[in-house]
C-alpha cells in the first residue's frame, strides 16, 4: 500500500536514515571558519620546534643548547635529560611498547626527536632549532627487515634488550617484536602436501603514508593554579589520548581535558600519541604557558605513523578446478624502531586473519613476524582496518595467481570459492564469523555493468595486436567496527563506544559520542540515525564529539568503526528514549503501552490514529510534573555498546587499464565500484567516501612509497616525490551498491569508509598484472610507477617499438 502524502511529508521532514541530505557541518568549512589546531591562539602561547636526528642510528654524545638559549625570544630547550627527572623521557605506546619521547642517548631512526626548542613564535623557534648543536656517533643501521634478526644484527632497542617479552609474547632476538599466528598449521600443511595445485608468491605491501592535508599538532596548556591540563590536539582518539596521558604524567585523568575540534583528515595518521605532543605537554607544565607544536609536511611523512611495510608470502593449495583447499600466508612486518601503532593485546597484527577473504577455505594458517628496524615507528594506518589492507591484498592477488595457474577465468574462480549466500553467518577457518554477505549478487551485477565478456574479447584482440590491456577484479570482504571487548582492546581498554542523548523540552536534542570525525560527516549521519529513531528532524539534533570533558568514553574513529559501534550506540540510546517516551505517551493518552504503535514521529493508539502524541510533545511533558508515578523527569539516555561481533562490508570492484609498453605509463580507463555496507545512512556521503578511498588506493597502487638508502636516509619524504594525485591524474569513479544488512547491528549498518581503500588497491594491482598475464607474469609489486612497469616490459623484451 503506497504511503499517504501526509506520511511522506512527515518522513521527509525528518531527513533521517537513508536520505542523501546535505551536510550540517559544511556551513563553517565553505566560509573558511573551521577550527583546526593551527587556528588556535591562546594568550601567552609559545611555539615549539623539534630538533631531529640526521642519522638513522647513532649515539648521542652531547647536546649543546647554549647558542639556542642565547637567542632573544627563546624560553627553553628540552632534551631527554630534562624529561628524565619527571620520568617522561619515555612513554607507553598504544601498541604495548615504550617509545622515547626525546632520544635518550641514542637515535633509532632518521628524524627522531632529539630536542624541542620553545620560543616566542615559529620563526624564532625555527632559527633556534638550527642553533642546537648535537654530537652524534653514527652506528650501522638496519633498513632491511629481513636482516633485523641476523645473529650479528646491531641491537636497536637497547632499552629492552634484556626483555624476552614486551607485550605480545616471547621475543627470540633483541630486534624481534612478536610472532603471532592463527589457524591450524598442521592441517594446512597436510593439505598442501597432497594438493593437486599449489601456488606461491612473494608479495610486498610497501611502506606508505596516509598524508592528510593537515599535519599533526597540538596546543598543550597546563594551568599551574588548578592543576588542570588541557590539550587541544589532532587526535582521532581523544579519550584514549587522555587515559595514556594520565598514565604517563601522573596527573589525575579527571584533571585532563583533551579537545579535538576540526581535523583536516586523519586516515589513521592521527591515532598514535606522538612524542611532539608529549614534549609540548611537558613544556607547558614546566613553563606554565600554552605550548603549540605543529609539524611540517616533511616531519609528518618522515616520523608519524606510516602504513604497511608488510613483506608477505602467499600460498594457496587447490584442486585442478581452482577450488581452494588450504591457505598459508606469512608476513614479515617492519614496524620501525618502536611498536607504536594501535594494537589489541591478543591481536598485535590487527585483523590480518581476515585473509581468507570472501572464500570458503577449509584449512588455513597465517603468521606474522614483527621486527624493529632503524626507521620511523608505525604500521597500522591509512584506511587499513587494522592490517586488513595487507590481508585482502594477499588473498585477492593470490586468487588471481591461482586462476592463472589453473587456467580458470578470474571471475569464475571467485564464484567457485565464494562463501555462498546460504552459508551466513559463516565462521572462517581462522575464526571470524562473517555476519552476512551476498558475494555472487555483487559480482554478477558488476560484471554485467562493465560488459565483462565484451572486455575479455577486446583484450584478446588487443593482445593479438601487441597491446597491453588489463582487467582487474577484486571481490573483497572487509572487517570493521573494532570491536568486541573480549578480543579488542588498547592497553586493556575495551573497544566499545558510546552515545549520550539529551532531548530538551522544545523537542530538539543533543547527542555526544565517543568517536571523532575527521571529515566523515558524523554531525550529519549520527543525526540521521537518531532522527529516524526519535522522530525528530535531523536538523534539530546536534552532534558533539571530541571534548573529553563532555563526550562519553569511546575509542575514537580510526577509519570505519564509528557506524558499526557508535552508530549502534546512538540507535540503542535513542531506543531507550523512545521506550520512555512510549510510557509517557501511554500515560498521557490513558492507554496501555501495548495499545500504542510508533509511526515516523509519533505514537498512535492502534486503530485510532486521531489519538496520538508526537515525540516533540512528549519531550515537553517529560520536563513537567505530568508523569507516571515514580518516573524521573528528563528525556535522556546513554548507551555503552560492546559489539557482539565486527561487521563485514564487502564489494566487487572492476578496473580496466591500458599500459603503454614504451614508457610504462598506465591509464585507468574505467573503474567500477560496487559496495555493500548494509543499511545506507546517507548515500551521498557514502559515495564521497568511496571516491576518496579509491583515490587513496590509486595513489598507493601507482606511486606511493617511502624509500630509504642502505643507511636509513630518506630518499623522497616531501610532496616533491611522495605521490599525491591531483585532480588531473585521478580517474573517474563509477559507484554502485547492493544492500545486505548486518543481522547483529541495531540498524543493520556495517561502515564503509575503509572498503574502497582495502578493495581498491588489489583491484588496481590485479589489473596491471592481468595486462601482462598472457606473457607469463604472475605478480608485480607495487607501486606500479611508469618506471617499474617499464622494467617489467623490458624484462619481457617488449619495451621497444618493433622497428627499433
Amino acid at each position: 500500500m503506497a504511503a499517504s502524502p501526509d506520511l511522506i511529508e512527515r518522513e521527509t521532514a525528518l531527513q533521517g536514515l537513508g536520505v542523501s541530505r546535505l551536510r550540517k557541518e559544511d556551513a563553517r568549512f565553505i566560509r573558511g571558519m573551521g577550527t583546526y589546531i593551527d587556528d588556535l591562539k591562546l594568550p601567552g602561547m609559545l611555539f615549539g620546534a623539534i630538533v631531529r636526528s640526521p642519522y638513522a642510528h647513532a649515539r648521542i654524545k652531547a647536546i649543546n643548547k647554549d647558542k639556542a638559549l642565547a637567542m632573544p625570544g627563546v624560553t627553553a630547550v628540552l632534551t631527554a635529560d630534562d624529561l628524565r627527572p619527571l620520568g617522561l623521557h619515555w612513554m607507553p605506546t598504544i601498541g604495548g611498547d615504550t617509545q622515547a619521547v626525546l632520544a635518550d642517548e641514542k637515535a633509532c631512526f632518521q628524524m627522531q626527536e632529539v630536542a624541542m626548542v620553545i620560543a616566542s613564535d615559529r620563526y624564532t623557534a625555527a632559527d633556534a632549532a638550527d642553533m642546537v648543536e648535537v654530537d652524534y656517533e653514527e652506528l650501522p643501521a638496519i633498513v632491511d627487515p629481513h636482516k633485523a634478526m641476523d645473529a650479528d644484527a646491531p641491537i636497536i632497542r637497547e632499552d629492552i634488550a634484556d626483555k624476552d617479552e614486551v607485550s605480545h609474547g616471547k621475543r627470540t632476538h633483541p630486534n624481534h617484536i612478536f610472532t603471532w599466528e592463527a589457524g591450524d598449521k598442521d592441517a594446512a600443511d597436510a593439505v598442501f602436501n597432497n594438493a593437486a595445485v599449489t601456488v606461491k608468491e612473494e608479495i610486498l605491501n610497501p611502506r606508505v603514508h596516509p598524508c592528510p592535508i593537515e599535519t599533526c599538532g597540538c596546543v598543550a596548556s597546563f594551568d599551574k593554579v588548578t592543576g588542570q591540563l588541557t590539550v587541544n590536539v589532532t587526535s582521532q582518539v581523544p579519550h584514549l589520548f587522555r587515559t595514556v596521558v594520565a598514565m604517563l604524567s601522573g596527573i589525575p585523568e579527571s584533571k585532563i581535558r583533551i579537545i579535538s575540534s576540526d581535523i583536516g583528515g586523519g586516515f589513521g595518521n592521527k591515532v598514535p600519541i606522538y612524542p611532539g605532543y608529549v614534549i609540548a605537554i611537558v613544556a607547558s607544565i614546566v613553563t606554565g604557558v600554552p605550548i603549540k607544536w605543529i609539524e611540517s609536511r616533511i616531519e609528518n611523512i618522515s616520523t608519524t605513523g606510516f602504513a604497511r611495510d608488510y613483506h608477505g608470502i602467499g600460498e594457496l593449495a587447490a584442486d585442478k578446478d581452482g577450488r581452494i583447499k588450504a591457505l598459508r600466508f606469512f608476513a614479515l612486518a617492519d614496524h620501525g624502531a618502536f611498536n607504536s601503532h594501535v594494537s589489541a593485546t591478543v591481536l598485535p597484527a590487527g585483523l590480518f586473519s581476515i585473509c581468507t577473504g570472501s572464500y570458503d577455505i577449509p584449512a588455513a594458517y597465517c603468521r606474522v613476524d614483527a621486527v624493529y628496524t632503524n626507521k620511523a615507528p608505525g604500521g597500522v594506518a591509512y584506511r587499513c582496518s587494522l592490517r586488513v589492507t595487507e590481508a585482502v591484498y594477499l588473498i585477492e592477488r593470490m586468487i588471481d595467481v591461482l586462476a592463472q595457474k589453473t587456467g580458470v577465468d578470474k571471475a569464475e574462480i571467485r564464484r567457485r570459492n565464494f562463501i555462498k549466500e546460504d552459508m551466513f553467518p559463516y565462521t572462517t577457518s581462522l575464526g571470524w564469523t562473517v555476519d552476512s554477505g551476498n558475494y555472487d549478487a555483487a559480482l554478477d551485477k558488476v560484471l554485467q555493468a562493465v560488459d565483462y565478456e565484451g572486455l575479455l574479447k577486446e583484450q584478446e584482440e588487443k593482445r593479438a595486436n601487441g597491446e597491453l590491456m588489463g582487467i582487474g577484479i577484486s571481490t573483497f570482504t572487509e572487517i570493521v567496527g573494532a570491536g568486541p571487548t573480549k578480543v579488542c582492546d588498547i592497553l586493556g581498554i575495551g573497544l566499545f563506544d558510546s552515545c549520550e542523548i539529551r532531548v530538551n523540552p522544545t523537542g530538539s536534542a543533543i547527542a555526544r559520542l565517543g568517536t571523532m570525525s575527521q571529515g566523515q560527516g558524523h554531525a550529519t549521519t549520527y543525526a540521521q540515525i537518531i532522527a529516524t529513531e526519535l522522530g525528530l528532524p535531523s536538523d534539530d539534533i546536534q552532534i558533539e564529539e571530541g571534548d573529553t570533558d563532555t563526550a562519553p568514553y569511546g575509542a575514537g574513529t580510526w577509519g570505519s568503526r564509528s557506524t558499526p559501534v557508535a552508530g549502534a550506540a546512538a540507535a540503542l540510546a535513542a531506543r531507550k528514549i523512545r521506550a520512555k517516551a512510549k510510557t509517557i505517551a501511554a500515560h498521557l493518552m490513558e492507554v496501555g503501552e501495548a495499545d500504542l504503535e510508533w509511526e515516523i514521529d509519533r505514537f498512535n493508539v492502534k486503530g485510532n490514529p486521531a489519538q496520538s502524541k508526537t515525540m516533540k510533545e512528549i519531550a515537553m511533558v517529560a520536563h513537567t510534573g505530568n508523569l507516571p508515578d515514580g518516573m524521573e523527569q528528563g528525556l535522556d539516555a546513554s548507551e555503552y555498546y560492546d559489539p557482539p561481533n565486527l561487521t563485514f562490508p564487502f564489494g566487487t570492484y572492476v578496473c580496466v587499464v591500458d599500459i603503454d609498453r614504451f614508457t610504462g605509463e598506465t591509464k585507468v580507463r574505467r573503474f567500477y565500484a560496487l559496495d555493500d555496507c548494509g543499511t545506507r545512512i546517507n548515500p551521498m556521503i557514502i559515495e564521497g567516501q568511496i571516491h576518496g578511498g579509491l583515490t587513496e588506493a590509486f595513489a598507493v597502487a601507482f606511486g606511493q612509497q617511502i624509500p630509504f638508502d642502505e643507511n636509513g636516509n630518506h630518499l623522497g619524504n616531501s610532496l616533491m616525490d611522495y605521490f599525491l594525485p591531483t585532480s588531473f591524474e585521478t580517474p573517474h569513479w563509477e559507484t554502485d551498491e547492493t544492500v545486505t544488512p548486518s543481522p547483529h547491528h541495531p540498524i543493520g549498518a556495517k561502515g564503509v569508509a575503509e572498503s574502497p581503500h582495502v578493495g581498491g588497491i588489489p583491484c588496481f594491482s590485479n589489473a596491471v598484472v592481468d595486462a601482462f598475464a598472457h606473457l607469463g607474469v604472475t605478480h608485480m609489486d607495487m607501486p606500479h610507477t611508469a618506471f617499474r612497469v617499464w622494467q617489467q616490459c623490458k624484462a619481457l623484451g617488449i619495451e621497444k617499438r618493433d622497428d627499433a
Partner: protein, 288 residues
Amino acid sequence: MIPRQFEYHAPQTLPEAIALLQKYGDTAKLLAGGHSLLPMMKIRFAEPEHLVDLGKLAELRGIRDEGNELRIGAMTTENDLIWSALVQEKCPLLVEAARLIADPQVRYKGTIGGDISHGDPGNDHPAIMLALGASLVLQGSGGERVVAADDFFIDLFTTALEPDEVLTEIRVPVPAAGTGWCYAKLKRKTGDFATAAAAVLLRMKGDTVEDVSIALTNAGATALKAREAEDSLRGDKLNDAAIAEAARQAMSICDPVEDQRGNVEYKTAMSGEMTQRALRTAHERAAT
C-alpha cells in the same frame, strides 16, 4: 618552512637592480616568480642574504610582435604565455611547454626568465629555447648583450649570466608557417620535473624533412640540442625507421641522473621515447 633572515630590495628600475647585484655580489639572488627560489629558501637549501625583487620592473614585462621575431619580457609568467593570443598563433610550442610546467598557481607567478636563468636542467624552457634557436638579452654593468641560446646553458646551475647581469628579454624567431611542433614531457605527476622531455620543430616538404630541431630536457647537466638526431632526419623521408634512428641518436647524447623518477637506463630510453612522440605529433601538425 621558514627561510633564514635576509634583506629585501625592490628596485624601481633596471639600472638600480644591476647596481644592487654589483654591490652584494654572490650574497644576492634575483627574485622573479619566486617559485624555484623561495621553496629552496624555506627548506634552507638556499640562504641568500639579499633578495633583489624584479617585480616592479615594468620594462621586463610584455610580449611584442616584431614581425618575424617575438620579443618576450623575462618577467612574463607562464600563465601570460598560455593566454597570449599572439604566442598561441605565432609560437604554439611555447604555449604547450608552459601548460606542462608545474600547476596553475605556480604558473601565475613562475616566469620564463626565471625558468631559463636558473640553470636547472629540470626546467623546461631551456630546451624550448634551444629548439627555437632563441636569443637571450642580458643587461649588466657592462651594458647589454645578446647571447644565442646555444651559448647560454653552460653547466649544472651555470649559465652565461655574469653575477651582475639580468636576463631582460627572450627573442624568439617565429617558426615559418606550416612548421609542426611538439613538446612531449613524461612526468610522474602534475608539478613534477620531467622524467624526460623533448621539444621538436619540424618543417616538411612533402614527405621529406626540410628542417628539424630537437632539444631534450633533464637528460644532462643542461638542456641538450640533439644535433646528431637532427642531422639523421634532414633531407630524408620521415617514417618509423627514421624516427627510431633519430631517437637512438638523441639517446646517445643523454647523461641523466638516477633518482626517484628512474635509473639512467630508463631515463635515457624515455628521452628516446619522448623524441619519438614529439616527432610524430609535430609531423601531424606540420603542413606538407
